[in-house]
C-alpha cells in the first residue's frame, strides 16, 4: 500500500508544472556553471623544465604583497573598484582626491611614480598585443602587470596601505585582510605541480575532483529550487479543495506525509544524479585516454554525501512550514536561509562549518579537502537528522490539524455553506 501511494505521489509530482520548472532551471544553471571549467591540461603529467606550471595561491608574504599591489594598481588605473556588499558585485569609483591618496601610498611601496608605472605598463601591453595579434593564449602566458616592489618593503607597511585602501573603497573589497591574505598568487614549481597531479590521479581519480566542483554549484541551486517543489506539493490539497476529503480517508498521517516526502526527495534527487552522471562521463573518458583510472562511481558518492542531505532538509523544512501555516511562508524563509548561507561564506573552498551550502569552488586540492572531510560528514549527518525531525514534526502537525478540523494557527476555516 505504501509502495502504491509512493508511486502515485511520484506521478503527481511528475505532472506538476513546478517540477518541470525545477528540472529546466537546474539543468540550465548547472550546465551554465560547469561549462567553463578548464581541466583537460591537468590530465597530462607535468615534465621537468616546463616553461610554466600554472598558478596557485600562496601564503608567502612577498607573493601576497605582490598580488595586492598589482590589484590596487590595476583598479586605480581604471578607477573601477570591485566590492561585494551582501555578496553582490558593486562597482565603486573614487574621486580625484581619494585616488591621489592611494597613488601616493603606492608610490611609497614601489618607489616609482604612479604615472610612470602606468606608462610602462601601457607600453608593455601594447607590445604584447602587437606580437600576439590578439591571441588569448599568449596573453595568459605573459606576466600580468609590472609593479616593482621596494626591496625593503615590510609586510606591516603593506598592511597599512591595504587598510587605507579598504577604508576608502569600502568593506567587502579586495583590500580586506581576510580577502587579500588568501589571494597571493604565485607560479607553481615543478614539485607543486607534480603533487597536484598525483592528488588528482590517485586521491581524486579525476572524477572526484570534478564531482566536488559539480556539487559546489549544485548545492547552491539545491538549497533554493526544492523549496518550490515542496511548497507546491503541500499546498496541492488545499488548492484542489480536496484537503478535507483526503483527511477523511483511512490512511495514516505518517504514511501520507512520509510517502509524499519521500516521493519529493526521490523526484528531486534522481535528475541531479543523472546530471552528475552525464557530466562525469567526459572526464572518465578523457582520463581513460590519458591512461588514468577514473572513479566511475564518484557521481553517486559525492551526490549522496553532498547534495542529498541538502535536498532532504530543504524539503523537510518546506513541508513543515507549509503544513503548519498553509501559506507560502516557507518560500521567503527558506530563500533567506539559502542566500544567507551562500553569502556568509568567507571562502569558496572548504570551511564547511554547519553551513547549509557547503562550497568547494576548486578543481582538485584533495589534500585540503581530506583535512576538512570530518567536518563535512558531521555537517551532512546533522542535516539528515534534522530532515528526519522536520518530517516527524510535519506528521504531528498534519495529525493535529486532522483532529482539530481546522488550521493549526489563525482563524477557523471558512465553512462552505
Amino acid at each position: 500500500m505504501i509502495g502504491a501511494l509512493f508511486l502515485k505521489e511520484c506521478r503527481k509530482i511528475a505532472k506538476s508544472l513546478v517540477y518541470y520548472v525545477y528540472l529546466v532551471a537546474f539543468v540550465l544553471f548547472i550546465t551554465g556553471q560547469m561549462s567553463d571549467v578548464e581541466w583537460v591540461d591537468q590530465l597530462s603529467e607535468p615534465q621537468p623544465g616546463q616553461e610554466s606550471y600554472g598558478y596557485g595561491y600562496s601564503n608567502d608574504e612577498r607573493m601576497i604583497m605582490q598580488s595586492g599591489m598589482e590589484t590596487l594598481f590595476q583598479e586605480l588605473l581604471s578607477n573601477r573598484f570591485a566590492t561585494y556588499p551582501f555578496g553582490f558585485y558593486k562597482e565603486v569609483t573614487l574621486n580625484e582626491e581619494e585616488q591621489e591618496v592611494l597613488k601616493r601610498a603606492m608610490q611609497q611601496c614601489t618607489g616609482m611614480e604612479f604615472e610612470q608605472m602606468a606608462e610602462e605598463n601601457t607600453a608593455y601591453w601594447m607590445e604584447i598585443w602587437m606580437e600576439a595579434e590578439g591571441s588569448a593564449a599568449e596573453f595568459s602566458e605573459a606576466e600580468m602587470w609590472h609593479v616593482p616592489l621596494r626591496e625593503d618593503l615590510t609586510y606591516e607597511e603593506f598592511e597599512q596601505v591595504m587598510e587605507k585602501a579598504c577604508e576608502i573603497v569600502g568593506s567587502r573589497s579586495y583590500y580586506e585582510k581576510s580577502s587579500y591574505e588568501k589571494r597571493g598568487i604565485a607560479a607553481l614549481t615543478y614539485e607543486d605541480a607534480l603533487e597536484h597531479y598525483r592528488e588528482l590521479c590517485e586521491d581524486d581519480k579525476v572524477s572526484g575532483a570534478q564531482m566536488r566542483l559539480f556539487c559546489d554549484y549544485a548545492c547552491i541551486f539545491l538549497a533554493v529550487l526544492p523549496i518550490f517543489v515542496g511548497v507546491s506539493a503541500c499546498l496541492k490539497d488545499k488548492r484542489a479543495k480536496a484537503a478535507e476529503l483526503i483527511r477523511s480517508r483511512s490512511v495514516s498521517g505518517a504514511a501520507l506525509i512520509g510517502c509524499r516526502y519521500l516521493a519529493n526527495v526521490v523526484m528531486c534527487f534522481v535528475p541531479v544524479l543523472l546530471c552528475a552522471l552525464l557530466m562525469q562521463m567526459p572526464y572518465v573518458y578523457a582520463a581513460g585516454q590519458a591512461g588514468i583510472e577514473a572513479d566511475a562511481l564518484a557521481f553517486v558518492k559525492y551526490s549522496c554525501l553532498w547534495l542529498l542531505p541538502v535536498i532532504m532538509v530543504v524539503l523537510g523544512a518546506a513541508f513543515l512550514l507549509t503544513e503548519a501555516t498553509e501559506t507560502i511562508l516557507a518560500i521567503p524563509v527558506l530563500l533567506a536561509w539559502a542566500f544567507g548561507s551562500v553569502l556568509s561564506a568567507a571562502t569558496l573552498t572548504g570551511n564547511f562549518g554547519w553551513k547549509l551550502v557547503t562550497r568547494w569552488n576548486t578543481f582538485g586540492s584533495y589534500g585540503r579537502y581530506a583535512e576538512e572531510l570530518g567536518q563535512l560528514y558531521r555537517n551532512k549527518g546533522m542535516y539528515m537528522a534534522l530532515a528526519v525531525i522536520l518530517v516527524l514534526l510535519t506528521v504531528a502537525v498534519y495529525e493535529k490539524k486532522r483532529r482539530k478540523g481546522e488550521m493549526l494557527y489563525g482563524k477557523l476555516r471558512k465553512n462552505n455553506s
Binding site: 500500500m1 502504491a4 502515485k8 476529503l245 483526503i246 483532529r403 477557523l412
Partner: protein, 312 residues
C-alpha cells in the same frame, strides 16, 4: 477463526449511529445544540434550512470536526477513535473536489489507495464504481473538465469504493439531472440494505423516494425525528387547493402557508396549508413531504419557545 466470527457478530448487531447530547461550537456560535439521534440501518434523511447544522453534524460523524460536548458512537465505536471510524465510513463532502489534472479513473484510484485497497482489488473496483455512477465511458476526462454533475457522481463513487458500513453523503443529488438523480437514488437504496446511509438534502423528492426515517434540523436543534409517514401526519387534512383571483393572493399569503401557485391568466390555483378550511371554495387534497416540511418550519418560527414540540 472463532474469534473473527464473534467479532463480526458484534458488528452486525451494532449497525447504528448513536448521538447523545452532541454540541458543536464555532467560537461563540452554537452550530449544534445538544443533538440526540439514533440512526439505524438503511437510508436516513437529514433535512433543514441553510445553516441548520447538517454539514456540521456530518463532519463530526466523519471525524473531520471534533465535537464540543456529548457522545457519538458509530457502530459502537466512539468517534474519538478516528482511525477506526475512517476505515468504516465513506464521506462525500458538500463541495466535492479533487486534483484538477487527474482523470476520473486516476482520482478514484488515488482515493482508493488512501483507503488502503490493495492493487488487485482496485483494478476490479475502480471500473466497477465508475460503471455504477455512469462515468466509465468518460473515465479519462480530467476532473477540472468535468461538469458539476459529473463531479458529484465521481464523489459518490469515491464514498462507496472501499465498501464502508457507514456512508455519509452531504447533498449528493444537488446539481444532478433528473435521470442521474433517479439512478443515484436507486444506487443508494441498493447499497443501504446492509449499511447506514446518512444523506442530507434540500430536495424533498429524494426523501420521499428513498428514506424511511428522517430528521429535521433547525438552528442546530432536532425539531423532528421519525418516519416519513409521521411527518406527513402532521399536515394530514390540512392541505387545500383553491382557485383565487390575483387580487386575493397577497392577502392569502399573509394568513396561510402557501406552498404552490399556478397562474392561469387572471386566476391562480394555490396550494394552502391551514388548520381548517381556509376558503369556502377550497378543496382538501393529499399532503406531500414538502407541505409537511413547510408546515413544520412555519410552526417553529411561530412558537420558538416550544423547543422540540413536534418531536415524534
Amino acid at each position: 477463526m472463532l474469534f473473527k466470527e464473534k467479532e463480526r457478530e458484534i458488528h452486525v448487531m451494532e449497525t447504528q449511529i448513536q448521538i447523545k447530547g452532541l454540541c458543536k461550537n464555532f467560537g461563540k456560535k452554537q452550530a449544534l445544540k445538544s443533538v440526540d439521534l439514533t440512526i439505524g440501518q438503511g437510508m436516513f434523511g437529514l433535512l433543514g434550512p441553510n445553516g441548520a447544522g447538517k454539514t456540521t453534524l456530518m463532519r463530526v460523524l466523519a471525524t473531520l470536526l471534533p465535537k464540543s460536548a456529548g457522545e457519538v458512537r458509530v457502530c459502537g465505536v466512539p468517534v474519538e477513535q478516528a482511525a477506526e471510524i475512517r476505515k468504516m465510513t465513506g464521506y462525500l463532502p458538500q463541495d466535492f473536489s479533487m486534483y484538477g489534472n487527474m482523470s476520473a479513473y486516476e482520482a478514484l484510484d488515488y482515493l482508493a489507495v488512501l483507503s488502503g485497497i490493495p492493487k488487485a482489488e482496485r483494478r476490479k473496483k475502480v471500473p466497477e464504481m465508475l460503471e455504477k455512477v455512469n462515468l466509465l465511458d468518460q473515465k479519462n476526462i480530467r476532473v477540472k473538465a468535468m461538469s458539476g454533475g459529473m463531479k458529484r457522481r465521481l464523489g459518490i463513487a469515491q464514498a462507496i469504493i472501499h465498501d464502508p458500513r457507514v456512508i455519509i453523503v452531504d447533498e449528493p443529488t444537488a446539481g444532478l439531472d433528473p435521470e442521474e438523480r433517479v439512478r443515484f437514488r436507486n444506487l443508494l437504496c441498493e447499497i443501504a440494505r446492509e449499511r447506514i446511509v446518512l444523506l442530507s438534502t434540500h430536495i424533498v423528492g429524494d426523501i420521499e423516494a428513498t428514506c424511511e426515517e428522517i430528521a429535521v434540523l433547525n438552528q442546530g436543534e432536532v425539531v423532528f425525528r421519525g418516519t416519513v409517514e409521521s411527518l406527513l401526519k402532521l399536515v394530514e387534512s390540512k392541505v387545500y387547493s383553491a382557485e383565487v383571483s390575483a387580487r386575493e393572493l397577497d392577502g392569502l399569503k399573509e394568513r396561510f402557508i402557501v406552498t404552490g401557485i399556478l397562474n392561469k391568466g387572471s386566476t391562480a390555483t394555490v396550494r394552502i396549508i391551514a388548520e381548517s378550511m381556509p376558503l369556502a371554495e377550497a378543496k382538501s387534497c393529499s399532503a406531500d413531504v414538502e407541505d409537511a416540511y413547510m408546515f413544520l418550519m412555519h410552526s417553529i418560527s411561530a412558537m420558538p419557545v416550544q423547543k422540540g414540540g413536534e418531536q415524534a
